[in-house]
């Protein structure tokens, strides 16, 4: 059994790393829960954003936050135009999964053609900085990411709960026709939401560029875990997605510390299977 310090450190890094799962899961959860569209290309968009941030940073020396300011609106536009396609062809859940998968394949191919299959790393001086709290180290970047993710999750949650737009979206997700009869312009709201979902991919991508090593095939690496997070956090609930992400991140990290790193994938999926079979009321 590892020492308490090691376990504590594993817990902290796990929760922080889980922030990334949460950040990625949020956009997915919104479009799945509220638009009934399963967007596999979300991961591809996140990595495309990461590559753009990397490119701007290494070639032109643009600071990541300026890159993010460009990438996020770009992704919003991509997300909104994706919705145009889905709306135009009245795509259902299953077809959306297949189409966005194809879309992700195209983006992956594009990335590989332009940036090659080599591993890329965006070296920054703050990548390795960390705060020392007692015996534990807290990496600054991960902490920033978690704070950003929390603010976004809370903001989106409040937006869905309190504003007219959010309530209209939730009503339309329940029954689009009835909502339309009460004057909810489902289409307009859906364009906004689809754009926001993709914009989150842009934000996630910025942090991926700073924290992770980039390779085209990495697009698929988090797919399973993040889907598990989306389900556990409940579809359409951004706060749930973030908390589930941190929960999964922490349990993976603990499993790595106690067992061995190779066992980590079992954790998230076992949690998902148990929750699906158990079927608790809050799901």
């Amino acid at each position: 059994m590892p020492s308490a310090t090691l376990l504590g450190q594993a817990l902290i890094s796990g929760v922080l790393a889980g922030g990334m799962y949460g950040l990625l899961a949020m956009g997915l959860s919104l479009s799945w829960g509220l638009l009934r569209l399963v967007n596999l290309s979300h991961f591809a968009l996140a990595f495309l954003s990461a590559y753009i941030v990397y490119e701007l940073g290494t070639k032109y020396g643009v600071a990541p936050w300026w890159s993010a300011a460009m990438v996020v609106p770009l992704m919003f536009a991509v997300g909104a135009s994706q919705y145009w396609l889905f709306d135009r062809f009245r795509v259902n859940e299953l077809a959306s999964l297949l189409i966005t998968f194809s879309f992700a394949v195209i983006v992956e191919a594009g990335i590989q053609i332009y940036w090659t299959a080599d591993y890329r790393r965006f070296e920054t001086h703050y990548a390795t900085e960390s705060i020392k709290a007692g015996p534990f180290f807290i990496p600054v970047l991960d902490l920033t990411m978690c704070i950003v993710a929390s603010v976004l999750a809370w903001g989106t949650w409040m937006w869905l709960r309190k504003t007219y737009v959010g309530k209209g979206l939730r009503a339309a997700a329940e029954d689009a026709d009835i909502a339309a009869a009460y004057g909810v312009d489902h289409r307009k709201l859906a364009y906004i939401l689809s754009g926001i979902g993709a914009a989150y991919a842009g934000i996630a991508g910025t942090f991926i560029a700073l924290i992770a090593t980039l390779a085209p095939a990495q697009i698929w690496a988090w797919l399973g875990v993040v889907f598990a997070v989306v389900i556990i956090g409940r579809l359409g609930n951004p706060m749930g997605a973030l908390l589930a992400g941190m929960l999964i991140g922490a349990s993976e990290s603990l499993a790595m510390a106690v067992l061995s790193p190779a066992w980590a994938p079992v954790v998230s999926f076992s949690v998902l299977i148990v929750i699906l079979l158990w079927d608790p009321e809050w799901l």
Binding site: F101, F227, L276
Partner: protein, 583 residues
């Protein structure tokens, strides 16, 4: 003769194609062709096996790699550790994969909620769990398994030829199995499950058993394919086996070809394999992948049902061959009998709770043979719940129900249907992807006694005529209006030759002329010897049709007797209209 020749032609082409492909490795072509065609066969088998569960029954799985991987590792472990001959390991691979399918299905299929995307995610998760377990145990140990020392069976002079032959045999076997399933009782049940599982169960389809059977078949074939593929790849790693491309490719292939058709996945698999190869061999592998992606998007947008159904629809439009539907044998219909003394239905102290809500509390009701009993009561009084409990849609919370003296209270809905209880739904729930005729045939197949297919078809046509739907046999339910869909519900119920027919508001939403029509029809049904319990709000119909009326209120039997007396009872009037009107 000419007709026979036309029917024999596809068969002849199929036999010639099988012979030609079987002989291909002997033709002395470069080994490349063996390998290329092997891959085509590999994907055809895999995609077709996926479609048996996910296309036919609509249980969309993303976990096909799990069963394929179990097959691969079974063969790899048996041949390298225990030196079992390859050909013996293939059945073992199929068996183990099928066993996993059965075990997973036995847990998952009990939960009604786990359909659609959740089933897809669950199967995907199972894949990752199995992969991680194999990786971290001595089965793989992280190093992978080399198959280079394993002797490849000498089916043909060259090893690539032998592997080709194994892949080919599996492919043909898979297609034969898919064809058999699609044209069998199992297939009909799976298609019904795809469209509406609850209705399928209430029409007598043993849904749980059928889903398990489909899962076992699907997983078993994938396991066998994996076993052969282990030889083909030669070096087996967890990352290479359980990767995401396997489940996603089989899904895409099946969907493009048409997942509900037995031959659809084969078309899609051939198309995509050739396409991928064409681009990859062109040297621009990545551009090729992107183009494949574009083609996939376009085909899903424009051919959402797949190539085969689209092609069939196109041919049907070009050559509208007017099919004449006529029953060749008039079914033997029992003559009308007076109301008997025997109880067909005995309901004793039936209670049903939904959480804290007491929907039925201690209902007793006897229905005699040949009787029509009207079930009335205010909204929320438990009428439809009683129908749902008798038909087995909801399990009982307490009490007993007997049909013809046999206890049915604890049976599942399909067993109750087999014992001669049929029902209709207030809002018609036809199987949407089946024609009117197929809908009625399915109900007759699973509801009634086992009969030859021809007899079932004749009987289905008889009931379609009886309910006035003649000429609409080949239409999809979506093309019918509400009135016709309600009559389709009746035709389906009648085709099961029920002893007891439960009608849930057949008249609601119909105009006065249609109501008259329906009342005549219900009388005609009784004249054929059926016993009927019907829920109705329309008092005119209740009074005209029923021998006795049962009034439910707040989950209790409130009054029971001849229609006119019961409807005049001040207590009954008061629960409908309030106390002021009761005087």
């Amino acid at each position: 003769m000419a007709v026979n020749a036309a029917a024999a032609l596809p068969r002849l082409v199929a036999v010639l194609a099988v012979a030609a492909f079987a002989a291909l490795p002997m033709a002395g072509l470069p080994a490349f062709y063996d390998s290329f065609f092997y891959l085509v066969f590999f994907w055809i088998s895999l995609a077709t096996s996926w479609a048996i569960l996910s296309g036919f029954a609509g249980y969309f799985s993303l976990g096909h790699a799990a069963f394929f991987g179990i097959g691969m590792y079974t063969t790899a472990v048996l041949t390298t550790w225990f030196e079992v001959p390859v050909l013996l390991t293939i059945p073992a691979a199929a068996g183990l994969a099928a066993l996993f399918g059965v075990v997973i299905g036995a847990v998952v299929f009990r939960l009604r909620r786990l359909r659609g995307e959740l089933f897809a995610l669950l199967t995907l998760s199972v894949t990752f769990v199995i992969a991680t377990i194999i990786l971290n145990t001595p089965i793989d140990g992280g190093a992978g398994i080399f198959m280079s020392a394993v002797p490849i069976p000498n089916l043909l002079p060259t090893p690539t030829g032998s592997i080709y032959l194994m892949g080919f045999v599996l492919c043909v076997a898979t297609l034969v199995i898919a064809w058999k399933v699609a044209h069998s009782r199992l297939g009909m049940g799976l298609y019904a499950i795809h469209d509406d599982e609850d209705v399928a169960e209430s029409k007598g389809v043993p849904t749980f058993r059928y889903k398990i059977a489909a899962f076992a078949l699907s997983a078993g074939i994938a396991g066998a394919v994996g076993g052969v593929h282990a030889l083909y790849v030669g070096f087996i790693t967890v990352a290479g086996t359980f990767e995401l491309t396997v489940p996603l490719f089989v899904v895409l292939m099946s969907v493009i070809g048409g997942a509900r058709h037995w031959f659809g996945p084969a078309v899609g698999a051939t198309f995509i394999t050739v396409l991928l190869y064409a681009f990859i061999s062109g040297g621009e592998a990545m551009v090729g992948r992107a183009i494949v992606g574009v083609i996939l998007i376009l085909s899903i947008l424009w051919l959402p049902d797949g190539v085969i159904p689209a092609a069939k629809a196109w041919f049907a439009r070009r050559r509208p061959a007017p099919k004449r539907h006529s029953a060749e044998v008039a079914p033997v219909v029992p003559a009308a009998r007076p109301v008997g003394d025997r109880n067909v239905l005995e309901v004793r102290g039936v209670t049903k709770r939904f959480g804290g809500l007491q929907a039925l509390s201690g209902v007793d009701l006897d229905v005699r043979e040949g009787e029509i009993v009207g079930l009335v009561g205010p909204n929320g009084s438990g009428k439809t719940t009683l129908i749902n409990v008798i038909s087995g849609h909801y399990p009982l919370s307490g009490g007993t129900i007997a049909v013809d003296g046999a206890q049915i209270g604890t049976l599942s809905a399909h067993e109750i249907a087999r014992r001669g209880v049929a029902r209709t739904y207030q809002i018609p729930r036809p199987f949407t992807n089946m024609t009117v005729l197929e809908n009625v045939v399915a109900a007759a197949t699973f509801g009634g006694a086992p009969r030859p297919a021809r007899e079932i078809r004749d009987e289905a046509l008889h009931w379609i005529g009886f309910t006035g739907l003649s000429g609409k046999e080949e239409m999809l339910p979506a093309a019918l209006n509400l009135h016709e869909r309600k009559f389709l519900e009746l035709a389906r119920a009648l085709a099961a030759r029920p002893k007891l027919l439960l009608l849930d508001e057949v008249l609601s939403g119909l105009n006065p002329a249609e109501v008259d029509n329906a009342i005549r029809l219900v009388r005609a049904i009784r004249a054929q010897g059926a016993t009927i319990v019907f829920v109705e709000h329309l008092m005119r119909a209740v009074v005209e049709l029923s021998d006795r009326v049962a009034v439910l209120n707040e989950g209790k039997l409130f009054a029971l007797g001849a229609p006119r007396e019961v409807m005049r009872d001040p207590r009954v009037v008061s629960i409908y209209l309030g106390k002021a009107y009761a005087a």
